[in-house]
Symmetry: C2
């Protein structure tokens, strides 16, 4: 903070005066819009440089009715959900795409009533030009807000129950099916599923893909062994599975965290992976590579996920009507299966 110059920021009018042009011309020159003669344009540029003028984004926002920002809201019961590296990757992609459109990223962790209220206020007051909504659960209060929003809303992952007009998602069913088919193709016949929260569409879809593959292979699908996408829950689910189905020889975990947990539970139970039990995860996050043995998993393009979400939002903001998008997944085979 350079306190030595407590003078106000220069304004357009000062540029105007120094450059000897009207405000309109100065404005046009600065936004390099047409209808400005070469001479005046240069005069303005010179004045801008001399004054160190920077346009005031707030004033611009008020006049144009565009804030120049897009919000990414991550729903959840508590903030720890955000600790999942999943979001970091998505953010990297979204951030890059927003940058191309010269939009700023506002991040909202909607994990309490208070924060949800703030998000609602943000949307109702049009404090952002658009919103990306992620990790909605069943009956999520943000869903209603999204419906009533008068600014563009893009969903990241479909919410449970409804199919929004605009969303980006990955092929959860296909990925889960591929994972399960792989397990079956390796000769596993008693393949269980450690599924994610069934109040999320991802959790349900992945179980559905598993079940479809099992049925298609003529095998009996296990009932869902529910976890909550965390490592401990995966370990607990695996432990339960070993008690109830000691002969299980394959496991499809609905994400890598739970896959890692399953690996740990198997290790603690003295089962060898993949010899005794083969494990496949979902996500292909760093943990899959670090796990021991490295986890075979369904890769989903998370950066692209974020990027496409942001691009879709930008398209909406600029008045287009993009189509929903479902990103492909593919299996990455490692030692665990």
């Amino acid at each position: 903070m350079a306190e030595d110059a407590p003078r106000r920021q220069p304004t357009l009018d000062e540029v105007t005066e120094l450059a000897g042009v009207s405000r309109s011309v100065a404005s046009r020159a600065i936004n390099n819009a047409p209808h400005v003669s070469r001479a005046k344009r240069e005069a303005v540029e010179r004045a801008v440089r001399q004054l160190g003028y920077v346009p005031n984004p707030t004033a611009r926002a008020l006049a144009t009715r565009q804030t120049g920002a897009a919000a990414l809201v991550v729903s959840g019961e508590d903030p720890s959900i955000f600790a999942d590296p999943f979001f970091a990757q998505v953010i990297v992609g979204a951030s890059a795409a927003l940058e191309e459109a010269d939009l700023h990223l506002m991040l909202c962790l909607a994990a309490s009533d208070r924060s949800r209220k703030r998000v609602e206020g943000l949307v109702r007051s049009k404090g952002a030009d658009g919103v990306m909504l992620m990790a909605l659960r069943e009956d999520d209060p943000l869903a209603r807000m999204a419906e009533e929003a008068e600014i563009p809303v893009v969903f990241g992952g479909r919410p449970v129950g409804t199919v929004p007009r605009w969303y980006v998602d990955v092929d959860n069913v296909g990925g889960a099916r591929e994972a399960t088919e792989y397990l079956v193709s390796r000769g596993r016949t008693r393949v269980a599923a450690i599924c994610g929260r069934l109040d999320t569409e991802a959790g349900r879809a992945r179980y559905r893909g598993y079940r479809d593959a099992m049925l298609a292979a003529g095998l009996g699908p296990f009932p869902p062994q529910e976890g909550d996408f965390t490592e401990p829950s995966g370990a607990a689910a695996m432990a339960a599975l070993l008690v109830n189905h000691p002969d299980v020889d394959g496991v499809f975990a609905a994400n890598d965290n739970m896959g890692a947990g399953a690996l740990r539970a198997l290790r603690e139970a003295g089962r060898l992976v993949p010899a005794d039990v083969a494990v496949v995860g979902f996500d292909d996050l760093a943990v899959a590579q670090i796990a021991d043995p490295p986890l075979t998993t369904v890769h989903q393009p998370l950066t692209a996920f974020g990027r496409e979400m942001a691009r879709m939002l930008v398209a909406l903001i600029s008045g287009q009507d993009p189509s929903p998008l479902i990103l492909p997944t593919h299996l990455v085979t490692r030692a665990s299966a």
Copy 2:
């Protein structure tokens, strides 16, 4: 998006008219400022409800010269740095603290020239009320920007070379010393350091702590075996260490990622942990618990880090002059040492 009502958002003037009061009174009532009679206040509230009025934050920002947002900028050469779960935790804390001050969080990933330019523009144009700056490297272009900023800037972690006026940091030296002392106390005498990037203050400070502890114990510190805070770099560093110092019996890794990498390299080299080589990490992220064996590590309070950074910024914004803060670390012992 409810397109059925394309009418403009109601404005204060409409509330004013409906409630039969002046704009000043309406404004005061809405911001519940004093000097409004009970009757008028209620009339305004009624009108607000009836109209579904929501104040326009942009207009308010223009009038008050406060944007209602704070930026968190993460520097780095490429965006992948943000994939480190470290940031997610910090963000959770910062987000919560900003929420208390009713500020929104703008997230800026300054990993390209373009994005750095945007951050600079944001700061120069006062597009945010304050900035939190993280992960600066040596000669980071953002450092100069920070000096010239006319809005409050709080550093998360000290930059290399200078000590900023306001910052939050963890006790890197103390943590590294404690980790090393622990290794020594367990009878290890040939303790190496896999250090982080030495163009970051954290990387340097942690090596310094290690070296101090070694010298204090009368042992010879190893020269820095530099990594870049990623898992593969930790594995590579460990592999190099095994070649140059086959008799190493302890390793202090400057973060958990590299610690996990070291673990992997040791496993691949057939060394037992902790029997042959004991390993200690730094951060206490999820990976430390998932690692095999679980990693003894230096815990740093990341959520508090974010929270305190945000609080310090809020204090600055409200005209106070808070003191820099150094957060304590403590060792968490697990199986790896």
